[in-house]
Symmetry: C2
């Protein structure tokens, strides 16, 4: 694990330290607790298969401490829309989590070139093929859950979202290792790869509650903007998180040559010598001792991390505003608090 100046890192985004104090997922978790137990039970039931490796591998990733943020959005959005009597939101929240897990498993797939770069991923244990096939299995299970629910509208939303997520993944591959990626191109990637499922998960809440299109649209906007904010904070954390609080290695994106918004901003604002640094480290993946520290110094020199945080707050604001249409109450407060959490997590 690389070491760098934690004091420097801790100081720089003090602007949202304020938010940290007040933000957690407590309200949301409390609100959907019973429903989420139902989701977890259903996930456990539906990932079973006579082929033992499937629940083994699926269980490994599903149990790996995910926050269940996306299914919680479905549950809370359904409640917000007044859905009280049924259990449809539980089945569909499980479908959302299965789709998310399938994309995680497929993201784990590596090429020989990645291995040469020394990456360790979950599928190192089993190889690529089981990750791909168990992902396919969970993806199919997601559709089976939707078919049992019987709503063609939900099926349309989530099959479309799945296509968009895959497109986003390919777009990311095309732009990865390309330091000339524009901010717009980058936002297209995360809007598809991350925010589409947040949007769909939230929207489904209004669909099961059979609410007017305006509420579906409001929840779609909430989810999409929340997802973008979430991903921007994730990008920032990769260069700044305190290890102990994140459980994620700082510098993963850097080592993979992933182009994220902080890099896009610093590259655009850097001089020719700095751009050579970014090209060498992220395009050519020629990385040396001290390069990650140097990258962090350059990001800070150009305020790239704090500007990424600013943009995250902007999208967080849009997510909050999207809920204006709904009356105040515990559900709305929980969803607003979720925005704060996504902005402040890790600090």
């Amino acid at each position: 694990m690389r070491e760098f100046d934690l004091a420097l890192v801790a100081g720089a985004e003090a602007g949202i330290e304020q938010e940290r104090l007040a933000s957690s997922l407590d309200l949301l978790a409390e609100l959907v607790r019973a429903d989420l137990d139902g989701v977890n039970a259903l996930i456990l039931e539906r990932m079973q298969s006579p082929v033992a490796l499937i629940p083994q591998l699926a269980g490994h990733i599903i149990a790996a401490g995910g926050k269940r943020l996306r299914p919680m959005l479905t549950l809370a959005a359904a409640r917000l829309c007044g859905y009280r009597s049924g259990r449809r939101h539980i089945a569909l929240a499980a479908a959302v989590e299965f789709i998310h897990t399938a994309t995680l498993l497929h993201d784990d797939v590596v090429d020989a070139s990645d291995l040469r770069r020394g990456l360790a991923t979950a599928n190192a244990v089993w190889g690529n093929k089981p990750s791909v096939l168990v992902g396919d299995f969970l993806f199919s299970r997601a559709f089976q859950l939707m078919v049992e629910d019987g709503s063609l509208e939900v099926l349309a939303i989530l099959s479309h979202a799945s296509a968009v997520i895959a497109e986003g993944g390919v777009l990311q591959l095309v732009t990865s290792n390309d330091t000339a990626t524009s901010e717009t191109a980058y936002l297209d990637v995360i809007s598809a790869k991350t925010a589409e499922l947040f949007a769909a998960a939230s929207r489904i809440g209004a669909v099961v509650a059979e609410r007017p299109k305006a509420e579906e649209q409001a929840l779609t906007a909430y989810g999409r903007n929340l997802g973008i904010a979430f991903q921007l904070v994730d990008d920032m954390l990769d260069y700044s998180a305190r290890q102990s609080e994140l459980g994620k290695t700082v510098g993963d994106d850097f080592r993979e040559g992933k182009i994220t918004l902080p890099v896009v901003l610093a590259f655009g604002r850097g001089d020719e010598q700095e751009r050579r640094f970014w090209r060498r480290t992220l395009e050519e993946l020629e990385q040396r001792e001290g390069d990650l520290d140097q990258a962090i110094r350059l990001l800070r020199r150009h305020a790239a991390l704090s500007d990424t945080a600013d943009r995250a707050r902007h999208y967080g604001g849009l997510a909050r505003a999207a809920l204006d249409a709904f009356k105040d109450g515990p559900e709305k407060r929980a969803l607003l608090e979720t925005v704060d959490f996504c902005l402040a997590r890790g600090y």
Copy 2:
């Protein structure tokens, strides 16, 4: 390319030489020609994406000369069931082909260990990740086509089939390189991995024609048994095809250490020295010059290829019998001829 005694190979399965003369897909192709043009146009339309790499890569595999056997089954089965007026069978046949293509792309995913064994696969050009993601994209497109069709029954059939296919793939991984695999375990693998989609593709024809369950079941049985016969012949061809007629390298399964029915039979009938040979070459993947020739000699010594052909004919017979319920006519004749084709192809 390895060379071996073609005369020996050509002679051994002379038993179905008879069938070769009479068998082709001509009747089937003629019957569904116009519909298949519609399927191909729809495939081309729906594989488009603003992300250019997606149609590039999907086009590469979709254009790669597939026979479109599975979508033709859907088209012909719909005709057999008297479906005349609509175009639903065209959209669903395209969905079936998308699912098939997605599984092919996901089958192409390799591990570093495969590369060390010197395998060249389609994804060598692009790496694993695009194969996975474009597969996901096509899989999602398949579901979007089904959602537009609007039949929850079709969605249930194909989401179930997709889950079973993934299970079959994992089961194959678990049994691969295990020479102690039983014939039953092997049939479980191919019934899931290959025959499930043949069965679903055929069944859907009866569903769009809104025929009674008995016809759905008959077409399911036709497709399943045809799929098993198809795969058994494929397994046999891997040890016996004339290169020029197959466009496939003889010995692929052997080099990958894949356990197929010919090997299961020869291993079970072999003495301890022969079993050591199979373990060394297929479990430990320690292969030397001349091993493929030796494998073919052992398969022939124990009649493993001709017995595999016998079993294929058995399942082909079951497929034919499943059509007894239907009246004679060009559709039925085309589907019967398809059985002959699957049994005799490559000879």
